[in-house]
Amino acid sequence: MLINWEAFLHVFLAAILGASIVVTFYALGLRLLVRGGRPPLVSPAEFTDAITVLTDKQKRRAEKAVAKAAKKNPLSEGQKRLSLVAAFLCFAVCAAAVLGALLLILFNH
């Protein structure tokens, strides 16, 4: 019985590489959005609850807190803009990685 163990190693390496690129760059993008003064939504001090969807009132309060945090941001306007550009670049890397992987599958096929 011939078992191609190398193929399992390939799957593991390809999957961990792909997943790491996507998660690292996406998380980095979020971090840079926060740095640039545009956090997607302010999370509570504890972990955000996955099931509770924010009510409109909670959303307004969160947006107010975002605006307040943005005012206190010690970065200059230029630095903030740079962070935002870097954040969107990170998201673009994620999208490119996924697209590349899909094209690779199509190409191999």
């Binding site: 019985m1 999957a15 997943a19 998660v23 302010v42 001090a45 504890e46 996955a50 807190a65």
Partner: protein, 405 residues
């Protein structure tokens, strides 16, 4: 010849019905998390999952080739006996799939299919008709290794996601942005599901066509109409299955946070897509469950609830032999009664499917029978609401206390 054609039509109909139940059964794997976290509206989520399953089915046919051109040795089989055997195997798979779905038992549609086919072939033809090497390397080993691989990857990437977005000053960390990301990753899971699960039915139909000589053994690629039919059926099943999730929204998923869900889904999609490209026929349910457990362990202070993990594992281990036993029993009827056996099997299958369907209508939909097994996996890891502080947080607290004194 006419009876062969009739059996092939029955095999195709039953295979497509299996494809439908597969989509129906697995919608929750891809879309339960984004619906529960509020990342997507239920209608949009289910429509997206259905469309991407459709697209995924066209991406690669490697898995279909594993089933149609390797697992079972077509040269050892006579065209008279083989289609009824596939028919018996499908009955085993569908019966087990519907039964576990109704009872809310952890199971895998794919392994039900493999179990049914292998069980029926063993009884109907004999062990010589099964290529043990292919079964071991492309079905059994991936089944054991893939959930573990997905779990390890999910563990690592959850650490990365939390590590990069961690704030020590308790200010906004932007982790809510993972909700946006989940739209993207859950779509990838749906796409990956199409590349692996729709292929299995294509493989079975192609196998049947090869068995009666309607397709050459040298060309195990599924024909275009087979690809279209399977892709459309799995998409329809996904769309229909989704409505049950909507009714149970919020009840099934316990403790999966957006960052964790994002990491788990990325790991699931990456593992399935990489495996599909190499023709490994895996269970998307098991991979997704492995990812959810791995990502739970990636959170600080988490511990494993081994009882829950044990229950999930028993379900996985049981699927192959249980579906195999049902498939073998159906094949035995065919062996004993010949052509009449197929008719008896068909009647029994319709009765079982109808019975299970009516039984499911009587029960109210709860998290136990409508949410996926992946939701169970979320409960397999215990995460404290307030985890132990990191070394840096402890140092900052000490400094703060020192300043205060």
């Amino acid at each position: 010849m006419e009876s062969a054609a009739l059996i092939i039509v029955l095999v195709i109909a039953l295979a497509l019905f299996f494809d439908f139940t597969n989509g129906f059964h697995d919608t929750a794997n891809a879309m339960a998390t984004p619906i529960a976290t509020g990342a997507l509206k239920p209608k949009v989520a289910v429509l997206l999952a259905a469309s991407l399953n459709l697209v995924g089915a066209f991406l690669s046919t490697e898995v279909a080739k594993t089933i149609s051109g390797g697992m079972i040795r077509e040269d050892q089989l006579s065209p008279d006996i083989f289609p009824p055997i596939i028919f018996a195997g499908l009955i085993g798979a569908i019966t087990w799939n519907m039964l576990t779905w109704l009872l809310g038992l952890p199971s895998s549609s794919s392994h039900a299919l493999f179990g049914g086919l292998i069980g029926a072939t063993l009884v109907g033809v004999g062990a010589s008709a099964i290529d043990a090497g292919v079964v071991m390397s492309k079905v059994i080993l991936p089944a054991l290794i893939a959930p573990l691989t997905a779990g390890i990857i999910a563990f690592a990437v959850t650490k990365i996601a939390y590590g990069i977005t961690r704030r020590h000053d308790m200010k906004a960390d932007g982790r809510d942005g993972f909700r946006w990301g989940q739209i993207f990753t859950s779509s990838l899971v749906a796409l990956a599901h199409g590349t692996n699960d729709a292929q299995k039915t294509m493989g079975v139909i192609t196998l049947a066509l090869i068995a009666v000589g309607w397709q050459s053994t040298s060309n195990p690629d599924p024909q275009l109409w087979v690809v279209f039919a399977c892709a459309l059926t799995i998409a329809l099943g996904t769309y229909m299955g989704g409505w049950r999730i909507i009714r149970t929204l919020g009840k099934g998923l316990t403790d999966v946070k957006p960052a964790q869900g994002f990491s788990a889904e990325t790991s699931t999609a990456a593992t399935i897509l990489a495996s599909s490209a190499l023709g490994f026929a895996l269970s998307t349910t098991q991979v997704a469950s492995g990812s959810v457990i791995g990502s739970g362990l990636g959170r600080r202070g988490s511990t494993v609830r081994w009882n829950t993990v044990g229950r999930i594992m028993i379900g996985w281990v049981l699927t192959l032999p249980a579906a195999g036993a049902v498939g073998a029993a159906a094949a035995l009827i065919v062996v004993w009664l010949g052509g009449w056996g197929v008719a008896v099997d068909a009647v029994i299958a319709v009765a079982i499917i109808l019975g299970l369907f009516l039984r499911s209508r009587r029960d109210s939909v709860t998290s136990a029978n409508a949410m996926s097994e992946v939701a169970d996996s979320g409960a397999a890891v215990k995460v404290p609401r307030k985890p132990e502080p990191t070394r840096r947080q402890r140092r900052l607290e000490r400094e703060k206390a020192g300043k205060g004194a």
